[in-house]
């Protein structure tokens, strides 16, 4: 998000989901789309098959989309910036860039040119493992198609170079003029149904709703007036990973966690538990007693989506109304009511009647949500922001005619290697991810028998050659060890994974893969890398 905000001025999908149907070329990097965003993947597949759209997949694994791809670039783990710079190198060398777009709509082009000049196909091949011809072909497909889309997900953001990766995607799109038109743009696929909404509402350390900075006095004034207070804090807060570190150091005394299970979802899980145990007060608000809630001093039982009304904002910036289906069970309350109660008890009375009244306030203080009112949502399938007034139809694609920040800013990045690369002691790279049947730490999906039946336990996916070398077969138990922990997992032999790379999921708290992963963070977005070096032995 930080990467796109810096280059384009807005950290969200530039296009809407329906526009995938008409793209001419897709460049999918760091997204196992069929597993994680199957509805979008289905559109990509249809566009490729029925409209002969070209598909480039950049992924170390032979994911399902790779089988349908025009071209599959199996670049090495963590070499994304080098690959993207390599593509730009070829595009500039061949003169496939969009000169007019660069001149009229962007700035800082010269520094980019200087950086990508260093990424010759030979050097890129060395870093990424992608050969010269494939690099050229990919550059040509992406640059020459009229409507090209870049699609990415956590596969490129969860790296120490996560922000660099995103900026490089933005650079590539601007270089070729592939942003600001229908079916043309840069599309980060969000990992949860409302993660876009949470960010939009300012559930970030540095902004109010609608990405309005807490350091801007004019913006603070708007919120001070709305809330009837003075002197709102003008400093950005801490990110999640920073909070955990601060808790461990003793700098944070109390933590209030809502709908999150960091003991299982965050890297270096033992470190997370250790840090949380040091707190004077841990409050966890969730619909189930999660692993994190078990460590809490106070647990606040919240109502589920079916027991409350409100809105969700999905990956295409579409705000949709969610209606209450049943009354809250067993003494639970909707999150908003819990927050109002707590706020009132600590001295700031909050007296909203309903989520509708809260949405009214959002409309008043959030320019991009100003026109997304309850009465409009009630009669529609939702509205995509920016939607500045009640007559505005919502926005299908962003940055038409001009970028949200005015001119698009090229931000040239250099390749940096991953934090922890395999060595003699830990010769494998462990990557983590999800399967389609389980959601995150499984607090909800693992309670559903049919989903649990589809994906009942954690496995370690491994290439057959590695399996032969380790003398293990499907189902053999192996010990996976990193510098932070050890876990015993059954092997699942897969053809779609490269040698020396293993894959597992973080859904299973009884086999918490995050006890092994690394908490090396991206310096800008503070997103952790997760991937790490491991050793594997038969047990």
């Amino acid at each position: 998000m930080a990467g796109l905000a810096a280059t384009f001025g807005s950290g969200a999908m530039t296009n809407s989901i329906q526009e995938f149907d008409d793209a001419e070329a897709f460049f999918v990097i760091g997204s196992n789309t069929t597993e994680q965003h199957p509805m979008i993947a289905s559109r990509i597949i249809q566009a490729v098959r029925q409209k002969e759209a070209k598909l480039i997949v950049a992924d170390p694994r032979e994911i399902k989309l790779a089988k349908l791809a025009t071209l599959h670039l199996k670049h090495k783990m963590g070499s994304d910036v080098a690959l993207l710079n390599g593509l730009m190198h070829v595009i500039l060398k061949e003169g496939w860039e969009d000169k007019e777009f660069i001149k009229d709509r962007t700035e800082n082009f010269e520094p980019l040119k200087a950086v990508v000049a260093k990424y010759t196909p030979e050097r890129v091949a060395e870093i990424t493992g992608v050969d010269k011809d494939s690099l050229r072909k990919a550059s040509e497909i992406y640059a020459k198609a009229k409507r090209s889309m870049i699609i990415y997900a956590m596969g490129i953001t969860q790296h120490v170079a996560g922000t660099d990766n995103v900026k490089s995607c933005a650079n590539l799109a601007m270089l070729t003029g592939h942003v600001g038109y229908p079916s043309t743009g840069v599309n980060p696929l969000r990992g949860q149904n409302n993660v876009q909404g949470a960010c939009d509402m300012g559930a970030l350390p540095n902004v109010y709703s609608g990405y309005q900075s807490v350091t801007d006095p004019k913006i603070r004034e708007v919120f001070e007036k709305e809330w009837g207070v003075n002197d709102l804090n003008d400093k950005a807060g801490l990110t999640l990973t920073e909070m955990i570190d601060a808790a461990e150091r003793g700098d944070i005394k109390a933590l209030y966690v809502m709908g999150e299970n960091p003991v299982v979802s965050d890297p270096d899980a033992r470190h997370v538990s250790r840090a949380l145990r040091k707190l004077d007060l841990l409050v966890v608000q969730d619909i189930f007693l999660t692993e994190t809630a078990r460590l809490a001093h106070v647990v606040l039982p919240a109502a589920s989506f079916a027991e409350k009304m409100g809105t969700f904002t999905n990956t295409e910036r579409r705000v949709q109304l969610s209606r209450q289906a049943i009354a809250p069970l067993g003494g639970t309350l909707p999150d908003w009511k819990i927050i109002c109660e707590i706020s009132s008890r600590v001295g700031y009375p909050m007296n909203y009647d309903s989520p509708i009244e809260i949405l009214d306030e959002i409309n008043r203080v959030t320019p991009s949500y100003a026109g997304i009112t309850y009465s409009r949502l009630k009669g529609s399938w939702g509205l995509s922001w920016p939607c500045p007034n009640e007559d505005h139809p919502g926005t299908l694609f962003l940055h038409k005619d001009q970028f949200a920040r005015g001119l698009g800013a090229f931000d040239a990045r250099e390749y940096i290697p991953p934090a922890e690369v395999p060595d003699e002691e830990y010769p494998f790279t462990l990557i983590t991810g999800r399967v389609g049947f389980q959601f995150h730490t499984g607090t909800m999906t693992r309670k559903i028998s049919i989903l649990e039946r589809e994906a009942p336990n954690a496995v370690l996916e491994m290439n057959s050659k590695d399996a032969r070398r380790l003398r293990v077969i499907d189902g053999s138990i192996v010990a996976v060890e990193s510098r932070r922990g050890e876990l015993h997992l059954p092997v699942q032999i897969k053809q779609d994974i490269p040698e020396s790379v293993v894959f597992s999921t973080f859904h299973y708290s009884e086999k918490n893969i995050n006890e092994l992963t690394i908490c090396a963070i991206d310096p800008v977005a503070k997103i952790p890398e997760f991937s790490c070096a491991v050793s594997i032995r038969r047990v």
């Binding site: 199957p38 993947a41 289905s42 209606r323 028998s449 049919i450 039946r453 589809e454």
Partner: protein, 334 residues
């Protein structure tokens, strides 16, 4: 032959609701048309096509079937009286097909049959297709029924022409809200039927698809290619009026346990996976093939009739365009 004025439908249903639970299509939040107990939504006269078929009332999404505690075990049977008003002919036909399956001598299903026995069925024939995805005629059916219902109603504008199809149906027509019809109604009825027979433009070609499957023209590649898009949500199965796969599990209850069953789907890998880990239907393509071959091939062998009634619900529901209509169209390209 009798008449039921449309303005009398609600009073009639309300009266019936005093002695048996009445279900009919009602709108919830102006968004969803559901077959639910009278009063739980808004009845607007427009029967339409409900998102989930009436199957849910004879074969609920989840039901308790056995309770056990210590030595005692008891069957849980629901034999409450229900009146279902506004069933579509295709749904009724689906129930008839399901009856045959659930009544097979060796494995009669008491939970289904008890509900079925106490159910009064009032079908409303479709004078025009309730949606673009309807294809009952192409599927070998008709937008009205010849038999197998208690009462069938035909829409004539201000009123329905009512025909009894059983003794129970004759009883219903004795209700005060049903008025004596006139001789011209007979003509009108034929007129409506004839119009209804020609009312559907949606003709995916089910008969030909059946032949193609019989000739084994659809190979593994064909199904795998389609399955690339299948997201394995099971939606097509759940909304299908003839799908009856279920999963069984026990949950603790009052010091004992209750055995429940819930809808399941043959599209899920776990449905056919064996304890050893081996799966006779190992790929999504093989499971998709299984589902459609069951309806369009094996049902014909076992029961002499296809298991697809052409209601189009799977095509309405599938988020990636892989309902029966699309599958039939793809088969016809072979």
């Amino acid at each position: 032959m009798k008449r039921l004025k449309k303005e009398n439908v609600l009073p009639f249903l309300k009266e019936m609701n005093k002695t048996e639970k009445v279900f009919c299509p009602q709108w919830v939040d102006d968004r969803d048309l559901l077959f639910i107990p009278l009063g739980e939504g808004e009845y607007k006269g427009d029967i339409g096509k409900t998102t989930i078929s009436v199957k849910t009332l004879v074969f609920p999404q989840t039901e308790d079937i056995i309770s056990f505690r210590g030595e005692s075990i008891s069957k849980i049977i629901d034999s409450s009286k229900k009146l279902l008003f506004g069933i579509r002919p295709c749904e009724m036909k689906a129930i008839q097909l399901t009856d045959r399956f659930m009544k097979r001598d060796d494995i009669a299903d008491p939970h289904y049959l008890s509900k079925r026995k106490e159910m009064t069925t009032i079908v409303i024939a479709c004078h025009e297709p309730p949606s673009d995805t309807c294809f009952c005629i192409d599927a070998g059916g008709m937008p009205y029924l010849e038999n197998g219902y208690d009462v069938q109603l035909f829409d004539v504008g201000d009123f329905y022409i009512a025909i009894a199809g059983s003794e129970r149906g004759e009883e219903i027509l004795e209700n005060k809200y049903f008025e004596q019809g006139i001789e011209e109604d007979r003509e009108k009825l034929e007129e409506i039927k004839s119009k209804a027979r020609h009312s559907q433009n949606n003709k995916p070609g089910l008969k030909n698809a059946i032949e193609i499957l019989k000739e084994e023209k659809a190979d593994e590649d064909f199904w795998e290619r389609l399955a690339d898009r299948c997201i394995n949500c099971g939606g097509c199965v759940y909304v299908c009026p003839t799908c009856t796969c279920f999963n069984v599990y026990d949950i603790p209850s009052q010091g004992g346990y209750v055995r429940c069953r819930s809808w399941d789907a043959c599209l899920h890998a776990g449905f056919t996976r064996e304890t050893s880990g081996h799966n006779p239907r190992p790929t999504q393509g093989s499971r998709l093939a299984r589902r459609h071959e069951h309806k369009l091939k094996f049902d014909i062998i076992n029961f002499g009739e296809s298991g697809c009634v052409g209601c189009g619900r799977c095509s309405d529901t599938c988020p990636v365009g892989l309902g029966a209509i699309e599958i039939i169209q793809e088969l016809n390209k072979l």
